[in-house]
Symmetry: C2
Subunit: 329 residues, 2 copies
Amino acid sequence: MAGPDPMNIDMIRAAATRLQGHARRTPLLNSPFIDQIAGRRVWIKPECLQHTGSFKFRGAWSALSALDEATRANGVIAFSSGNHAQGIALASSQHGVPSVIIMPADAPALKLANTRALGAEVVTYDRATEDRDAIGDRLAAERGLTLIKPFDEPQVIAGQGTVGLEIAQDANAMGIETADVLVCCGGGGLTSGIALALEADAPGLRARPVEPEGFDDVKRSLESGKIQRNAQTSGNICDAIITPAPGELTFPIMHRLCGPGLAVTEDEALRAVAQAFLRLKLVAEPGGAVALAAALSHKEQIEGDDVFVVISGGNVDAPMFARALNTLS
Amino acid sequence: MAGPDPMNIDMIRAAATRLQGHARRTPLLNSPFIDQIAGRRVWIKPECLQHTGSFKFRGAWSALSALDEATRANGVIAFSSGNHAQGIALASSQHGVPSVIIMPADAPALKLANTRALGAEVVTYDRATEDRDAIGDRLAAERGLTLIKPFDEPQVIAGQGTVGLEIAQDANAMGIETADVLVCCGGGGLTSGIALALEADAPGLRARPVEPEGFDDVKRSLESGKIQRNAQTSGNICDAIITPAPGELTFPIMHRLCGPGLAVTEDEALRAVAQAFLRLKLVAEPGGAVALAAALSHKEQIEGDDVFVVISGGNVDAPMFARALNTLS
């Protein structure tokens, strides 16, 4: 890559300062029952307890707060039907600026309603007949909106990296010097941000991306050293973390810093959702539980007496949650 | 009451010191969706995230750690089929001392298994033919065990009161000077402890007990100024907080310090469990959600722009949780 590195630890520290008093400092949880299944001590970072139910609020707040005031006042735009949309919607309304979220017209009604309720203007399009990007470009040009991408955006990565600063601080306080840090991974914004934070503040901790089986583009990219794409981007209950490929910004960071990727089945993800319910009293969505699933079901691929696990989100509907609970009986 | 007051704020502060590094300092959560239903800002204290899934661990740790070493080494005994049992079991094994929990033989298998897995010796009795107290007295005498009562015990009240210290600290940091603090109430250990802590550290905040309709012994006792009993002690899904009557120690404290009690229906409790799932990503048990239910369904009985709500526990089984989720559809 030519030019200076677009990401560094100072950006993450600056994001942490901007997030202070706005994002939640999530606790670190554990359970002797989880430890027993996993065969080691498991330290849970529950980002499902973050505002809007996922870590995405951190990146959204970081990106919004990094804009100069005049640019921000015009408002922002994002393409998302999920957690990024809700993060942008709430961070924008808390900044007192407009946000436009472009969502497919057939997105779940609850997601459309939630995003609107958090203060965004939702613009829907027909997936079959309309060009999402063209609609976004037109609105952005007409209104002077700034596009905030979901992961391949320096200030978004910086915001997600604050999760890593907190894990490093807690690990240091507990005297844990080496451990794997399992991170639910889509485009790699959270994973790369955490990896950069750990490199600086807890260099014995190693971020490792976890993905759904069959959608393990990051795992394969790390193995080959080159960006690999997923053959498909739908058809898995871990929809929140499925993206076409790792990002141009996130992949080089992950390639330099991360340990090997892991992949889990849908059933393993559902069982992890059920254990989070039973033992941690947390609501996790399947895609937000893949890192826990790796700790519970793939312990032979993990090193050390301690492992950190990020539960990245909890925006799951009742029928899917009931399906996860059925794995307990 | 003759003699010196058995409870004071210094005991709560001393308990907080002993709990440091052992009990979790739970965060304070909120949601704009919850605020909208409640018609005011709602600040959630999620004690379902405490060790063993309920605030009971605080009182258990406080009581264990307050014993002199020789007494503690002999072990402790408790009567409980629920959250107190799990709190005592874990606090005892973390202190490296034995615990005996007397439970009915027909208690749910999961509760028996969990209590054993946390390190306790579980002794079961037949409700129809055996005398629980006689069994307990015999074991305590034979082994020199110390009985730890679930609520009417000064060091247990002191431990639960640390929830109030944390609420006071957070309220002061946010500049909230007056508010109701709604507390799920059984025998009154948590409510009276919180009330004492608020009196000292946030005197504009007022604890208010919340109970299931038909089991509102504390509410009626506060109204009449005398201890009133429940006509029955079973037959409600909020079983975790149903006790025969307020305690001899807890009632005078509640009578002196608490605002009026509130009572909620089973359906209101289930709907609160569902909102905690949907908007807070928390697993609450019905009895642990009655305070949230009061905030959501009885707003006309609450005063002020802000209200604090303790979610006291999350030990709910999957079928009951699924029943709560059904209220969303």
